[in-house]
């Protein structure tokens, strides 16, 4: 019996074929993913121990621990190969008789030792028993108590068995369509603390009065589910439940991940994965096929996992639209100033784009997103189960984390997005018109809004100019690469129809050069812009980027200016409206 986390690393061979390499690493090496205890012989002890809940409570659990090892709940995930003769030596350190049953195993479960029980041979308190069976079919299974299950399974005596197809440890089943890269366990359960308290105190409990209060995935309640495997502060609950993947890519990440869902609880749970549909490929270790043997796979964004059932799913996150700062989401985003974050915590990056990090409200205390990953909640859609003793969010929930294809934080650079911190008008001066002339709420394309002002009304002049700039603060002083500017705006006549100005004024977008202390030349963009929004996607200032980042009292400042000029006799009053401005850059 040894621990492993099963992972398959993919590399591209010269011929373009995918070569699979299986790496078996110590459990502690992999912070996420299903943690296997490899067989086919296992030594387990049924015993009592404590679990902790995120609200500070604890509950006595009965579980299976490695004999001579540390208590854990749930018990070890037993991993074997198809065709293995599986042997489980069970020592009973509980105060009453117990037994093991193996639903879905048709390979003739036999027991040596013990005495007959209703569902299986039972072992008395303090005794030993050995169960043996042949692992006939690959798939995801349960092992659990077959003695007084209403009580013992509720107390925690249930966990998972994984049978790998013979010769294909990187597949869920023998079928090549079930190849996967990584695998994740989502084991659902629920706890009535009153029952556990009664067992701990050896007092009577009426099983018909059960009322579940805690809901777990892999033995933890949200947000503990997000913590890595084997974190020391959850010493009896080793299995995390964060699903941590990268988007599909035909070359770099062609295989889906395998999600093994198991409901060892006594209630059906409506499990609801956000982010991407899951492909349902098997139930109870039986592939879902048409009578002719073809896939009968269905896609799901919410499915009941019945009590005692297992369901296998494949998941590929496909970034279908490849939305990015230069390919913005074609809908209006709310102003970030209007967003609130629960408890001042968020997994939102501040940017709607994978791999970019944006600005968050100053009240945000804890930003959990370091590299523009997408986070999606996976949770029971039953409100009472999405809570820790009624306090939400909690309970039966975890997150799907999708990292950028190139990785997160390593090898060192992260793409960040910033919106203006302030806007300064330099012309006309002095201000002669109220900004209330501006139609507020012009479309802000993509995320954060920059309402920017300018105006006009210089009676007698034949040249009329609007000139303003936005300031971005807190850009790192060094290490910035790949600085880009995004601007969308329009220029309109006052009191005229919104889009009714042709040809418009001569607009220049430019960036401040702190070494020359002037607007950099050449400008980033120069064109005539009238009453229709013109997007200037990702102009790249000439290198090096360091000259655009202020120092001294201006440390960390980047300034982007927009100037529009209207010449000639008969020039009319107009105003400029900046509807969207952001910069992006890569930084350590």
């Amino acid at each position: 019996m040894r621990l492993s986390v099963h992972r398959t690393a993919l590399s591209v061979a010269a011929a373009g074929l995918l070569a699979a390499l299986t790496i078996v690493a110590p459990a502690s090496a992999a912070p996420t993913g299903m943690e296997c205890t490899d067989g086919p012989t296992f030594n387990l002890t049924a015993r009592a121990g404590q679990m902790e809940t995120p609200d500070g409570n604890s509950a006595l659990m009965w579980s299976y621990a490695p004999t001579g090892g540390h208590f854990q709940t749930p018990g070890p995930v037993l991993c074997v190969d198809e065709g293995d003769t599986v042997t489980v030596h069970l020592h009973n350190a509980l105060p009453e008789a117990t037994s093991l049953v193996f639903p879905g195993q048709t390979g003739g479960v036999t027991a040596s030792g013990g005495s007959s029980g209703l569902f299986a041979k039972e072992v008395a308190a303090g005794g030993d028993i050995t169960y043996t069976f042949t692992a006939n079919n690959p798939g995801t299974y349960i092992y659990e108590s077959g003695t007084d299950p209403s009580k013992q399974v509720e107390m925690g005596l249930a966990s998972a068995i994984v049978v790998r197809p013979a010769g294909h440890s990187d597949r869920a089943y023998g079928d090549s369509a079930t190849s996967f890269s990584d695998e994740y366990l989502i084991m659902l359960n629920e706890i009535d603390p009153e029952l556990h308290s009664a067992v701990e105190n050896n007092t009577a409990f009426d099983i018909t009065t059960r009322k579940d209060r805690y809901y777990t995935i892999n033995g933890r309640s949200f947000p503990d589910t997000l913590q890595d495997n084997d974190v020391p502060w959850l010493e009896n609950q080793p299995y995390g439940a964060l699903v941590h993947i990268k988007p599909y890519d035909a070359t770099l990440n062609p295989r889906p991940v395998l999600i093994r869902m198991i409901n060892v609880g006594t209630a059906n749970h409506p499990f609801h994965p956000h982010g991407e549909n899951l492909q349902f490929i098997a139930q109870d270790g039986r592939e879902i096929k048409t009578p002719s043997g073809n896939d009968a796979v269905t896609e799901h964004f919410g499915e009941t996992v019945p009590s005692g059932a297992t369901e296998d799913y494949l998941l590929s996150f496909r970034d279908q639209d490849s939305f990015a700062p230069g390919n913005p989401v074609p809908v209006t985003f709310p102003s970030y100033r209007d967003l609130t974050f629960k408890d001042s915590n968020t997994w939102y990056s501040g940017s709607p784009y994978l791999g970019t990090v944006g600005k968050l409200p100053a009240t945000t205390v804890s930003q959990q997103n370091v590299c523009g990953a997408f986070f999606f909640p996976w949770h029971s859609h039953a409100l009472n189960e999405f809570a820790n003793y009624d306090a939400g969010f909690g309970g039966m929930a975890t997150l799907l984390r999708v990292d950028p294809l190139t990785g997160c934080g390593t090898p060192g650079l992260t793409t960040r997005t910033a919106s203006p911190d302030s806007v300064t008008r330099t012309s006309p001066t002095p201000v002669v018109t109220s900004t209330t002339l501006l139609p507020n709420g012009l479309a802000a394309i993509g995320g954060l809004r920059a309402d920017i002002v300018s105006n006009l009304s210089l009676s007698g002049n034949t040249t009329r100019t609007t000139d303003w700039y936005a300031t971005f603060n807190n850009v790192p002083a060094s290490g910035v690469q790949n600085l880009k500017v995004y601007y969308t705006g329009r220029n309109r006549r006052v009191l005229q129809p919104l889009s009714g100005w042709t040809p418009g004024c001569a607009q220049t977008v430019r960036i401040w050069n702190w070494t020359t202390n002037n607007w950099n030349t050449p400008s980033l963009d120069s064109q005539t812009v009238g009453g229709t929004d013109v997007a200037i996607p990702d102009p790249v200032p000439s290198a090096p980027d360091s000259k655009y980042i202020g120092t001294g009292v201006n440390a960390g400042q980047v300034r982007v200016g927009v100037r529009c000029v209207l010449n000639g006799p008969g020039a009319v009053n107009y105003f400029s409206s900046g509807d969207f401005m952001q910069i992006t850059y890569d930084a350590p």
Binding site: T106, G108, A120, P149, T266, D284, P306, A309
Partner: protein, 379 residues
Amino acid sequence: MQALSHSHHRTATGVALRAVVLALVIGLVLSGVASARQAYEAPLARHGNVAHGKKKHKRAKHRRARAAAVSIDLCAKQGTVTLPDSTTLPTWGFVKKPPAGSCTDAGVDAQIPGPVLDVNAGDPVTVNVQNLLPDDLALDIPGIRLDAGPTSVPAGGSRTVTFTANNPGTYLYESSGDAGRQAEVGLAGALIVRPAASGQAYNAASTAYNKESMMVLSEIVPGLNNAAAQTCGSQSCLGSFEMYDYKTAATDAPQDARVSNFKPAYRLINGKAYPQIPTINAAAGDRVLLRYVNAGSEQATTTMLGTDARMVGRGASPLGAPFDFVAETFPAGSTGDAIVTVPASAASGTKFPIYDRHLELFNGSATGLGGRIRFIEVP
């Protein structure tokens, strides 16, 4: 002993009996022979099995069964059920009227669940319901298009409901009266519509079986049953109170009970709780069709040990892609047809447990296991 019963005879027209494959069995014993509540005690007789020495009505194997008019006379009456913890509770139930008898005859007792109605696809079916209960009831068979006309049966009155059983499958019949509470206290049962080919659940040969058994799931909320036995004005108290409860004791007043805190004390298969539930005897290699009917108000999930099952139909519809399962949920009001193949290697005496995976394995507050536990055993 009575298994599924027909209240009618069919004529096997122009079809020879086959010696090897005998009549589709379902032990066609005429009704009224046994105590009504024993209706489900035995698993359905094995295909070709003439054991038990009982009078057996042989139905010829029809290659193409010819539709024949079927007339079923049902009585709706009050009765009682005695549970394994010795609790006796009032119930309401259906029972077949003896061909030459009356609904009020001794021994014509309400059954929990109602008798299995067993017809062939294409049969024009006439159901005559005589209502001896204090409340109006209304017959409903989800999935069956009843012929035009009222389905309500007034208290003390009768009603004839007709339909043509077009599609093979397993159905639930129930009373929708008293806001559904009549079904919960027992006015519900199973209807089987058989395809032309005998020994199959549906027309597809892949749904063949050689043994079948009902798995009618229901539960008992004592307060609700007690309400049914009490009088509120001119009716029972079943529909009178706002809501009913809970695993109240048999003596609890109905007003103490509310369905808003619905908490059954007993969960049943074919009207019985473990250890009353009879074992299904099946030989190694047998294909046992389990006709699940969830006549209760809760989701019901069973699991099994040592084998698996193939779901070939749900809601009386054959599945285009049957799937195998160990644990599966049957939503309240739904039906499912699952075939368990007894492993060919199973030795005599091998037991395959099938049990409630919600683990409500109790009978009231009695100690020890109860609820929905059933075994398939190799004799």
